[in-house]
């Protein structure tokens, strides 16, 4: 897993998010695009890309894109 690719996938999975607008330090839950629909599309992307089906509660425990990346990495 590469953080750079993960960030691109994160950006693509959230409708309305522009490419290059997110870094590994981004507090994603504070993004204006973050809502229940975003949780669904992000969960789906991560499952399709990495075969890891995250629960909403797991995602909400993460603060930054980096911490989300590490969570997925630990479950791959």
């Amino acid at each position: 897993m590469e953080i750079k690719i993960f960030i691109e996938q994160f950006e693509e999975s959230l409708d309305g998010l522009e490419a290059g607008s997110v870094t590994e330090a981004t507090a994603f839950k504070e993004l204006k695009e973050w809502d229940s629909l975003a949780i669904l599309t992000l969960t789906d992307t991560i499952d399709l890309e990495y075969g890891v089906l995250l629960k909403k509660a797991d995602i909400e425990l993460c603060d930054t894109v980096r911490s989300l990346f590490e969570l997925v990495q630990s479950k791959v």
């Binding site: 409708d15 949780i39 599309t41 969960t43 399709l48 909403k56």
Partner: protein, 356 residues
């Protein structure tokens, strides 16, 4: 097994509500509505008036079906009605419909208390009782009026669910091929899709009518339908593709041999995702009825058949004499049912709006 569907009719309420009318629910955020349309496929849904119950919708569907197939109600020997929004807690909707249609007293009638998986469960039961010789011809009704159970200020459910009733005939047909069923349940997920109050565990009271707001700002009472969308989504993408693969393996059938995968019309995103996970052409996974009716619970599979496949399955537009169709329902329970049916041309497959 020489058993098949012979026809199906879906009846929806005449009242249409569009997602644009929910602008206040989304705090005036037009962009959010556009996102929901684009991602989930939300568009229009059908809403029953206060006087119209699911029994009324299914009764009209049954009358049209009997007339189109030229079958007398006295020729039915089984009525299976899937609903979680019956007219009364007792007697069953099946018994009430039996009375309204003036069926024979030799006809068995029962309700099944299931939601989105229920149509497949009812078909399984209908096929089984015909196969074991108990019945010759079974009328399957399926539907709910969930719009009454959702709180209008709960964004997780209010714009999603619509109302519909369906009637489907199952009977012996010598030209029918083999059929395969797989059913399953995971009651540990019961709390993720539930109406907490109104049953014996928590009867209606002043307390159950109190509105509360959740972490996302959605408002509902314990008398409303609660859905944990994230849990239900995860359950669906985990279970449904696996079940369909297993069903095809049981049947020794390849995905290429299946003409259509008609999945419960939960929303467009869900249907397309299951299709993607199955690696099948999305044109074989109908989903347009969701944008016309909403998620209509156990009526969604017959609704999708009638909305998108009427000409094909009635033999009006291509040469095939029968079609291989996978049906898959999943939802409240949590519960799921998947079947592979060989369907010779249907004598009737249509949908229409209810007429008083």
């Amino acid at each position: 097994m020489d058993i098949s569907l012979s026809g199906s009719v879906t009846v929806v309420p005449p009242k249409v509500r569009s997602i644009e009318e929910d602008v206040d629910l989304f705090g005036g955020n037009i962009r959010q509505i556009e996102r929901l349309k684009k991602t989930l496929g939300l568009n229009e849904r059908r809403i029953a008036s206060n006087e119209l119950t699911n029994l009324d919708l299914c009764e009209q569907a049954a009358q049209v079906l009997l007339e189109q197939l030229n079958i007398q109600s006295s020729d039915l020997d089984g009525i299976i009605y899937v609903t979680q929004t019956p007219d009364h807690s007792q007697p069953s909707n099946a018994a009430l419909l039996h009375g309204r249609l003036a069926c024979s007293t030799e006809c068995a009638a029962l309700d099944i208390g299931l939601g989105c998986s229920g149509f497949v469960y009812a078909l399984w039961l209908a096929y089984s009782i015909i196969a074991n010789g108990s019945s010759q011809r079974v009328l399957v009704l399926a539907g709910d009026t969930l719009s009454r159970l959702v709180h209008p200020k709960d964004r997780a459910t209010a714009s999603l669910f619509g109302d519909a009733g369906s009637a489907t005939m199952v009977e012996k047909r010598s030209e029918a091929g083999a059929s395969w069923f797989r059913l399953g349940t995971d009651g540990r997920g019961a709390d993720s899709l539930i109406v907490p109050a109104g049953g014996a565990r928590l009867p209606f009271s002043e307390e159950t009518a109190v509105e509360t707001s959740d972490a996302d700002g959605n408002i509902r009472t314990k008398e409303n339908l609660f859905m944990d969308g994230s849990e239900v989504f995860n359950f669906s993408i985990e279970v449904v593709p696996r079940e369909i693969e297993a069903l095809l393996s049981d049947a020794g059938a390849s995905k290429d041999a299946v003409d259509y995968f008609v999945l419960h019309q939960a929303n467009r995103y869900m249907v397309h995702n299951i299709g993607k996970r199955l690696r099948v052409d999305l044109e074989r996974c109908p989903v347009d009825s969701f944008g016309a009716f909403g998620n209509v619970s156990s009526a969604s599979i017959p609704g999708a058949l009638a909305y998108e496949l009427a000409d094909v399955l009635s033999g009006k537009c291509e040469g095939k004499s029968s079609h291989q169709v996978v049906l898959s329902g999943f939802g409240v329970g949590l519960s799921w049912g998947t079947c592979l049916l060989n369907i010779p041309h249907l004598g009737c497959l249509e949908w229409r709006a209810y007429k008083a």
